[in-house]
Amino acid sequence: MLRAVASVVVLFAFWVVLSGFFTPFLLGAGVGSAIAVVWLLHRMKVADHESFPLHLAPRVLWYWPWLVKEVAKSAWDVTKLVVQPSMPIEPTLVRFRPGQRTPVGLCTHANSITLTPGTITVDIDADGFLVHALTAAGAEGVVGSEMDRQVSRFEGS
């Protein structure tokens, strides 16, 4: 129930950002919409901790800026590869075990890897992450990386 109320609140906040109007009708519609959506989510059985990982919200504030910096660095590296006429790449597949345990944590780590140009999480299975990297260095970089630690911190383990 509490989760439902929190979800309604979050969705309503989203509504307000989108709307920019504060007429009674539209605010009422916003509340109604948020409730309706939560009801439908309930029907879909997806209204669980995975869909609204609200507890992580504050940690986003330091994780995301760090990630943006990483992404920018990698993007610059890959850019250099692309524009070089010889394109000195060395595609590599690497498998490793990440440090996270929760689905949200794993997902964050995997997506962070993928978001970073030069590396892609191909698969997640019982043996860990399978990552495709554009260079051998990039492949080495994902194993036991700083990112792994940052995400684990973010996950709260």
């Binding site: 989108l18 920019g20 698969d123 997640i124 299975d125």
Partner: protein, 93 residues
């Protein structure tokens, strides 16, 4: 400058279309289409910004969301040959 940005986006889209045409695998094409789609989202945003009409940004968001669903659908189709498969038979993570 917005013109430059828009131009760059159009060039990006065009190049992606070339890749879509070249293929060779269907996944290359999907990737290219995805790039076209996100490019279009940005283009819409630029247009909306340019003309000071937030509706265009709504359109961009809409397009972005649809692009995601579309891409996933296509991938699922080519991966399983079926859009409705619950995937129970699949080896799980």
């Amino acid at each position: 400058m917005f013109a430059a940005a828009a131009l760059a986006l159009l060039v990006t889209i065009s190049l992606a279309i070339v890749r879509a045409a070249l293929g060779p695998t269907v996944f290359d094409r999907v990737q290219a289409a995805n790039t076209v789609g996100t490019g279009a989202v940005l283009l819409l945003a630029v247009m909306g910004f340019l003309t000071d009409r937030p509706e265009f940004l709504d359109l961009a968001i809409t397009y972005g969301l649809l692009n995601l669903v579309g891409t996933i659908a296509v991938l699922k189709f080519f991966r399983y040959g079926d859009l409705g498969d619950p995937g129970d038979s699949e080896r799980s993570a």
